[in-house]
């Protein structure tokens, strides 16, 4: 006989069958490894959003009033006056006032584009990744085509057809921007789909919508947030490029991208035209990236990464 029967192991005395002690501390969660609280990035974003909300009310001058006699005044620390703290542009408009007014347009465009393209990309990624098969193939070829098409060319075509307005800028940038979300999140879904906890849900009789809502979307959220924070800056810059080409937010309405693009003509003589919107833009991008990092580490319960 090869093996002695060991059936008695299963029917042991209750003492021997006692379960091992719980190893981890019950209750309280210990979140370690978090990055610092986002005072800097949160502060910057809050400041700019505040500027976007009440900017026009506190601006010292009109954002669009032209007075050619005041053109290209330097900022106060470079020999200018307190009447125009950040100087004036080539048409004599106050740079500070336009910066405050531009916050609203730039942030509105940036956030709307991120939200619309993120939501659309997420939906495409879920359908494509979870259902797979022929639907996946069709959607992904469509995504590839969108990715391959130069955004600025697409923007020119669409702007030529629909005209330039703030609303159209948002739509055009969202049309060009959703594909990267779809691509990246789809690959996440493909990875998650094979995990045992999704199989468990299927075996529990959960339908596709339930699984997508309860398990897939929460698990791709950190990726989505990182992509969104990267795209926020890119969208504001793209709006600037479009303004430069005359298909962005139509002048004279101020936008950071437009000011930056317009100011680059005067870089050697009137550096302040491009510098201040440039700083505002860089700070927004930096703050949104830092915020994204923090959100990602927060949304990961293991506290790693």
């Amino acid at each position: 006989m090869a093996i002695q029967p060991q059936l008695d192991l299963l029917t042991d005395s209750p003492k021997a069958a006692a379960v091992p002690q719980a190893i981890t501390e019950p209750g309280r969660r210990n979140r370690r490894g978090h990055s610092h609280r986002p005072y800097f990035s949160g502060g910057i974003l809050a400041l700019f959003i505040l500027a976007g909300l009440i900017g026009p009310l506190i601006a010292p001058h009109s954002t669009t009033h032209v007075s050619l006699s005041l053109y290209l005044r330097p900022p106060v620390f470079a020999g200018g006056t307190w009447a125009y703290p950040l100087g004036t542009d080539e048409l004599g408009r106050d740079v500070l006032s336009r910066l405050l007014g531009g916050a609203r347009i730039s942030l509105l465009v940036g956030l709307s584009v991120v939200f619309i393209s993120g939501a659309f990309g997420l939906v495409v990624a879920m359908i494509s990744g979870y259902i797979g098969g022929r639907i996946d193939a069709v959607l992904m070829r469509f995504t590839d085509a969108t990715l391959a098409f130069p955004t600025i060319l697409l923007a020119i075509v669409l702007a030529a057809i629909f005209g330039a307005s703030e609303q159209n800028v948002i739509i055009i940038l969202a049309v060009g921007g959703w594909a990267s979300y779809a691509r990246v999140i789809r690959s996440e879904v493909l990875r998650l789909k094979k995990q045992d906890f999704i199989v468990m849900s299927v075996v529990m009789g959960a339908g596709p919508l339930w699984i997508i809502r309860r398990h897939l979307i929460p698990n791709v959220m950190s990726t989505l947030v990182v992509l969104a924070t990267l795209q926020l800056g890119a969208a504001i810059l793209s709006e600037g490029a479009m303004s430069f080409l005359g298909i962005g937010v139509p002048p004279p309405a101020p936008s950071w991208g437009g000011m930056l693009a317009g100011g680059s003509d005067y870089l050697t003589t009137a550096w302040w035209l491009a510098l201040f919107p440039g700083i505002a833009l860089s700070l927004t991008v930096l703050a949104s990236n830092l915020m994204g990092d923090w959100l990602r580490s927060r949304s990961d319960p293991t506290g790693h990464r």
Partner: protein
Amino acid sequence: MLQIENLRVAYLHDNRRSVAVRDVSFDVPTGATVGLVGESGSGKTTVALSVMRLIRPPIGDIEAGSVRLDGVDLLKLSNKAMRTTLHGDIGYIPQDPTAALDPLCKIGRHVDETLSPKIPKAERRALIISLLESLGVRNAATRLGSYPHEFSGGMCQRVAIATALARGPKLVIADEPTTALDVTTQLSILRLLDAQRRERNLSMLFVTHDLAVAQMLCQYVVVMYAGEVVEKGPTAEVIQRPRHPYTRALVGAIPQPTDKSRARLRAIPGQPPAPAQDRVGCPFAPRCPLAADACKVMPELKELDGVEVACWKAGVEEEPRVVAETR
């Protein structure tokens, strides 16, 4: 009770089909545990997944056969009816407990998700707590809000078992549920499963490559080799008097702590055949010490003292080389 008849399952690669399970038939009686044993690639997990209809194109295809749970053929159900059956009647315990839980989903919610939202929340909570406590999760009430990474592997497996049992299934399918755990935890999990089977009168299909585990837990074993059932019957009979040379070799390959002879571990020479479309003869013949001309024809399962064996040489006394003599 679960009845699997003539199940044939193929995996699809591009245009090729490789048949992973051939004409597999066995029953899981109500209130009993059936161990499905075999080496990696023998098709045991494929059988378990097929019962839950998780083998679907483009991955694979259930080509023939029937899987009846209390008389209802699961393979013929509509997708919707199948989902209802999966939800209500079948519980699944996966191999790796840490991967089986959503890392962003709290412990309590894992179990809660399987329960009907019609049950009041407080009642569900009480139910989950008592279930987890009965599965050996101490202070369950304070741990419902924990995340899976805060639990050890054994604790995660208890939670996974709780999600499988919460709806009171008729059938539990466990796919090597203790393989990823250390031996002491293995034992307590096996005891738990056995206790739950008795208490709830469950049918349990237990996939394992570990004969010692099968011997402890299962009333019946089904031995698979290269997608075919080679021997099936009551556990004690099959393991103490294996009739098929493969089973004999498997039993002989179990290391014995009582063995003082310092003999080398016995391995089965050769490799299992690659899954293919067609096959003639006994798949084990190339590795079999008893292979003869008769083995060029596939042997049917035939009964021999209450055990069914698919071997022309079943019952023929083997030469002593294959079986480990421990005394």
